[in-house]
């Protein structure tokens, strides 16, 4: 008898098959796309919740609690936890599972750690691909946890339908939150560690900041104003309220808004993947790395080198005026 294919094993709910599919996504293995193609088009049924915030805010602990709460509602949960790769060695120490160990042997939960592999590692692409894999495996909910806040992480989190930004007292005031672009990305603002002094103050600051934004220049009467939820992931207090707000955002999005948002996300994913594959083709397979260093070595100025390289593929297009198209 023929061995069942990976896509068959995936549909049957075999976790090892899902794990392998995610590895293929991480490594840019062509079998990833083949397998998804084999599975065919399917309606998006997993809800993707992104969890971001500064290091130590309690993201992993919150993810663990959200998963526990979702399991009491008989929802299956796929968790993708991203930790940073070392820019020096390229290695990574992935420790998010430590806070999720109660979920490890739950048959309705799948947890995968992912290293960010640096800016050129295509983490945004791999994270979206991994979410697609988890969805293909039939999980109801996907929790996507990013590394600490930064521009690249917003990129990752843009793969989610609902974005939670987790903050905690003692790590800067509400103005910090206004600066960092947190309000723009957040669908739900979570003030974690509610038992610590300053939690109420932070929540008030955030509510004010949301209000200023909602009534200021960026005003959209139809828009979604991010609610502020105070909870304690460490003790499990008010986790159900966080879920209720996710659910509210979900019903607000439902219909045309969701269609549009997902279309935009798909387009972004295609662009990212194209850019990644082109960059790989040029720098690795066509030897641009060596070409560029040789030109620099010969005393050419950086922008000269850029023009030489770019016009070596766009030269003809430029002359034909296609560039502006």
């Amino acid at each position: 008898m023929a061995q069942p294919s990976l896509s068959q094993r995936l549909v049957q709910g075999e976790k090892a098959a899902l794990a392998r599919l995610i590895s293929w996504a991480e490594n840019g293995d062509a079998r990833f796309a083949e397998t998804l193609r084999e599975l065919g088009p399917r309606a998006s049924k997993s809800w993707r919740t992104g969890i971001t915030g500064p290091p130590g805010a309690g993201k992993s602990t919150l993810v663990n609690e959200l998963a526990r709460e979702l399991r009491t509602h008989a929802r299956t949960v796929g968790i993708l936890a991203v930790d940073p790769s070392s820019p020096f060695s390229g290695g990574a120490l992935l420790g998010d599972r430590i806070r999720m160990e109660e979920r490890t042997v739950d048959p309705g939960v799948f947890i995968r750690s992912m290293a960010s592999r640096g800016a050129h590692g295509g983490i945004a692409r791999a994270a979206v691909d991994a979410c697609d894999a988890i969805e293909a495996a039939g999980y109801d909910e996907i929790l996507l946890e990013t590394v600490g806040v930064g521009q690249a992480e917003y990129d990752v989190v843009s793969a989610a339908d609902t974005v939670l930004v987790v903050l905690c007292p003692g790590a800067g005031d509400g103005i910090q939150a206004m600066k960092a672009g947190i309000l723009e990305v957040a669908d739900v603002l979570v003030v974690n560690k509610a038992d610590l002094a300053g939690a109420d103050r932070l929540a008030t600051d955030l509510e004010e900041a949301v209000h200023i934004r909602a009534t200021g220049g960026a005003r959209d009467p139809q828009g979604w104003a991010a609610p502020v939820v105070t909870c304690s992931a460490g003790t499990g207090k008010d986790i159900d309220e966080v879920l209720r707000q996710i659910e509210k955002h979900r019903s607000w999005l439902a219909g045309e808004r969701l269609e549009r948002a997902r279309r935009e996300k798909r387009l972004r994913h295609v662009r990212r993947t194209v850019e990644e594959q082109l960059a790989q083709e040029l720098w690795e397979r066509r030897g641009w790395n060596e070409k560029a260093s040789a030109l620099l070595e010969s005393g050419r100025a950086p922008y000269d080198v850029v023009e030489t390289l770019v016009s070596s593929i766009l030269g003809a297009a430029k002359r034909d005026g296609v560039k502006s198209a």
């Binding site: 090892a16 490594n27 420790g95 599972r97 430590i98 295509g122 692409r125």
Partner: protein, 141 residues
């Protein structure tokens, strides 16, 4: 992106609160460019095997100082096999007498590292073994 990284699970089975060694090894392996999943203390063999499957690791490294290695190590291996994970490189370290190490190495564990082992030796062993494997079967799987 098309470069595959060696993925390693470092786990501490059973009732054993000493994780300094496991953390040290985890850091050293990371510094050698590996992706290391560390799961913390007090893991059951089932938890370790489940994690190894979901993380699709190439290497499972167990650290133990409690003396229970002769009962826990074979159980971890059995749980891995039960889940079809038969090709992972199994290594271990801690307070393990030579005769126990020899026995475990005859029962599916590739290598046991005793006290005094230089961390570089562990990293080099894993690197060399995995690179040889990938050279033989191709880096894709």
């Amino acid at each position: 992106m098309s470069t595959r990284k060696i993925r390693v699970l470092i786990a501490k089975p059973g009732l054993d609160g000493h994780d300094r060694g496991a953390k040290t090894v985890a850091s050293v392996l990371r510094d050698h460019g590996m992706e290391v999943i560390y799961t913390g203390l007090h893991q059951t063999p089932e938890m370790i095997a489940e994690t190894a499957v979901q993380e699709d690791v190439d290497v499972v490294g167990l650290s133990i100082l409690s003396g229970a290695h002769m009962s826990l190590f074979p159980r971890v291996r059995a749980e891995l096999e039960k889940r079809g994970l038969t090709d992972a490189l199994l290594v271990g370290g801690g307070i393990i007498p030579d005769e126990d190490a020899k026995k475990l190495e005859s029962e599916g564990y590739a290598k046991l590292f005793g006290p005094g082992t230089h961390t570089e030796e562990i990293a080099k062993y894993i690197e060399t073994t995995m690179n040889a494997r990938w050279a033989k079967q191709g880096a894709s799987r």
